[in-house]
Subunit: 338 residues, 4 copies
């Protein structure tokens, strides 16, 4: 391994571009050696913008490159598991965007390959690296709020994704609430045993016609006895709403949204503040940097990654349980799925 | 009717005392003519403290007093419905503390008597008169947050009631969450169709041995399509926690707890604020005044009361549905009960 | 002295009425025996509204009434000192609205009479009893922010008083900032040595034509080494603005305004809150009760009053110093005046 | 000029290093071509860390380099004006840290050279690019708070600089409050006419022995009629305190400090938040990027810089006026100095 970790980024879409920018500018122990995208112009554009020396339209060949130490997988979801398997066989360290796959069997195949190869795998649940969530996590772990009794997660997007995306994404539970299922496990420090879903189409009937819902509240029962709720909406007119409240035997921790400034304006009819940061690129800027920095450091110093393959698998299983609860109108044990 | 509404207060316990104080000092259109309590010394103590001219240990005789225009029923829950029936027959206007009764049949009998007598009945859901909740209610009614999608109610007491009370109170759903079921209907402006309960004993095993739970999250489905959650705990170490969040198609409204002062203290290790107001007497001081003021005005100007007999009945029905959901581990339609 | 402190209220204007209401409804150890106002209808109206047994149009005769234990002086400022002198001679306990007088000689004469008579005198600086200011005061006294370095007081009215009042009130320094000079002494726990004033007419040129200013910043040097600033405006369009910030060697305490509710509303363009409580009647409701309660208790249990004659005198002296600083465009020592 | 603006950074100390990092990672239209520091190892260390191709220990020779388009002057204050003059003569575009010099004659000489050469000059008052201050500035400019009546600036450091620095820095007014004088002019959109200073040694007697003060409140009178206050302390135990409040005829805008997270923790005795961001590197991270980005864009698109030579000169003049006010214990017109 060279002094800097040599990385191949697979996928030059929005999230790939974001990771390439961070790796170039803010993570000094890594360098992007090559960008691969089956759509070559995307890779070329990225390479030009960030002065990356090499591009490819063949991710699998890039994975074989002996000068590549690690891959960052940002391609479309349906390619993740195959690329993980290929990268594992090539003994590359792997960072993969969530979800690993929409099918648990494909996830299991990927995790199996990783385990056999003995390489590292980190899943891109970036919110774990957000300063708000991390602080709450650390408070809980340190026992500062005592035993966790109730955990409430609010997670609302500023506007729905394109309807074409909704049709292939796996739906609300797998493309959106999956982040919250991860957050629930991360904060509670415990597995989810059972879920109960109430869902509705309130934002856009088109979403309903595509077979999905756009508004949902899921109740969670954790192994450690805590009770959780997650509420999702595809559209909050006031922007990206990402908050958590953790209530325990010794206290409570709650987070507020990040704002573009800390100004309060008193006028003749109301006191006003600007809206919260609008979406994930603004809100989670630093957490995207932090997760990759952590991945690079884990590889370099040979430590376990903080978001494991299991962490990638469980939210998908919970997502299926939530979906089944909605369909069958009953509480569903995650063990029915996983 | 005399110029001032002449009121008999039935029951001189904690809440009776509170109402007597408010009627004496802050509601100029009413006067407490007599206090009745089966435990005479309680009535006498109250009468002395607030210069009330008359006491009795026989509520039923007081109800017959032709110089009494209205009764305020603050006696123990099991006496509420009989006193309502007696007062209705005597053509008195009635303010009654919640719940009307623990049994729906007794509630129905009481409401029936009220209807037949054509008298007014107002139930003591004082939180509707709190400036926070009222503001959120008015915002929703005015359409300022659009269609209601998600309603979240947090309601936590500073410490559990005596275990003897737990044994006879009807339990968490009927003595505590009943307020929140009322709040849910009040804010949503819609009936609850179905509930799903997750409950646990986390605060005190003694409560479990008494057959109750001390921690619960109930998910609600409203007729108008909104989804709600209520979380209750018998003990929040930081005091009385009473908040609501209403999310809709055009915005969101959230409340914070009231504090004893608006001071922030920056020290060498943290920024601190004093804890919220500790319990209902401090927190809802003004709402207790406002509900009785409203009752008195409704009687004097012959307007319908703002919290009706139906408003007293429905939270009890929802409470039984929530209990059944917990027992049978499934979503329960309120129509199964009501 | 009877069991209840028998009080004569002298002056039945806005503030007199407020005190009568509080004494009647919320201070059980006192009773208003008589209301005196040279304008008889005002006294009669008050008496009727609050069921006060007796009225008079002659304050001096009321002061002589042997059945009166204490007087609460709420008449126009120019009568305060004479009434204090008369009440002292009649051995009545005295609560007097601020200022004692506009002239230091009259103040001194009044304080002299009080001292000779050995009666109690409390000045109506009600803000000292506000929960925000009291908390900051107590923090400072307890040493929690260490040595006080900087004290900042913001005090802005929602709108200017009538121009007729401005002409006779003594002007901004004596009718408005006098409260802040008192607050400065109260919080700093130290005397003001020197002031420097920058003032302007920004709100209404009519105020300038009346010989006054409507906007001012006064810098204070305290004996204990702290530095203070007070800023006043006759008009804040967003309502009554009453805040303080105390910065010391070990920390900082700041207050926020009280609001009518704790609701935050997130819409499509901004996050909004309702304006702060509009003016002193709403904002200082409780402090008016608390100051009289304290006065009554001090009399009954023969303790020194918490706001003394000297506390009434010093803010007037500082006011004159601030005025001289404005006129002579230089820092002025309070010792030049006092 | 090459496609990217080729920059020489003069001075590789703390602030130079910060600018080099930002230019390298976050400002894509610029490249650091060379780092010059009279202390060669500092330049070499920086160059290695940020992969800068060239170093020098002779700033003047670097200025002559025909491949350099612009210089960023971060060396010690006493070298600023000479480097500006040299760079101007060499027709380089100039970004210079504040202050230009401690003497107004040297400042004038530098500005004169810039004007003659027709090059651009931007002074490093980075706080103008902070999202809080910029928002308040824009609100004022847009007339949203009406005419400015009162402007209050709080600016407190977490701890004093080394005493050796205090001795040569020009003192509190020129090394610390200079930023606030700039902020005052920037926000008020008006020149300061007169100042009055109250100062003290409260933090560390050693600072007093070095001939400086550590605590000061300066009152400002602006040409446009607004009144301002600035309070500075060398030590706020709770960290870097940087806030402003602008009060006008139509409203008020106030800022709060930035925090490392938005978490509130409710425990058994208090509600807590983590302390604000500790110092300027954390607090003003983004404003340092933004000011250089703006400089680079101004040069590339040949626009006037947003912080001019005059903007560099006036705060120094105000600083001298504030110092004279302290020494002579009287209000001092800035025209006495400038």
């Amino acid at each position: 391994m060279s002094k800097k970790l040599r990385i191949a980024v697979l996928g030059a879409g929005r999230i790939g571009r974001l990771h390439i920018g961070n790796l170039s500018a803010r993570i000094s122990d890594a360098e992007v050696k090559v960008i691969a995208d089956v759509y070559a112009p995307a890779a070329e554009k990225c390479a030009a913008d960030f002065s990356i020396p090499e591009v490819s339209s063949d991710p699998l060949r890039v994975i074989e490159d002996p000068d590549v130490d690690a891959v960052v997988i940002c391609s479309s979801t349906d390619t993740h598991s195959d690329l993980i398997v290929a990268a594992a066989k090539a003994k590359k360290q792997i960072f993969c965007e969530k979800p690993i796959a929409l099918g648990l069997d494909r996830i299991d195949a990927a995790l199996d390959a990783v385990e056999k190869a003995g390489v590292k795998l980190q899943i891109g649940f970036n919110r774990r690296f957000d300063s708000n969530y991390r602080r709450v996590h650390d408070l809980i772990q340190a026992g500062e709020i005592g035993d966790l009794h109730v955990l409430k997660i609010a997670s609302r997007d500023p506007s729905p994704p394109p309807i074409e995306y909704v049709k292939v994404s796996g739906g609300l539970f797998l493309d959106m609430m999956i982040h919250d299922f991860d957050m629930a496990r991360y904060l509670a420090g415990s597995e989810v045993e059972e879920v109960f879903t109430v869902g509705a189409v309130r934002v856009d009937p088109e979403i309903g016609r595509a077979g999905d819902i756009d508004t949902a509240v899921v109740t969670l029962r954790f192994e450690n006895g805590a009770i959780g709720t997650i509420d999702n909406s595809r559209r909050a007119v006031y922007g990206y709403d990402q908050r958590v409240e953790a209530f325990g035997s010794l206290g409570m921790a709650e987070t507020a949204n990040r704002r573009p400034n800390e100004v309060r304006i008193y006028g003749g009819s109301a006191v006003k503040e600007d809206l919260p940061l609008n979406f994930f690129v603004e809100r989670y800027t630093e957490s995207y940097v932090a997760e990759l920095k952590e991945f690079v450091e884990c590889v370099i110093s040979d430590r376990p990654t903080p978001v494991t393959g299991l962490d990638g698998r469980m939210p998908v299983a919970i997502g299926y349980a939530a979906k089944r609860s909605l369909d069958e109108h009953r509480p569903v044990a995650v063990s029915e799925i996983a």
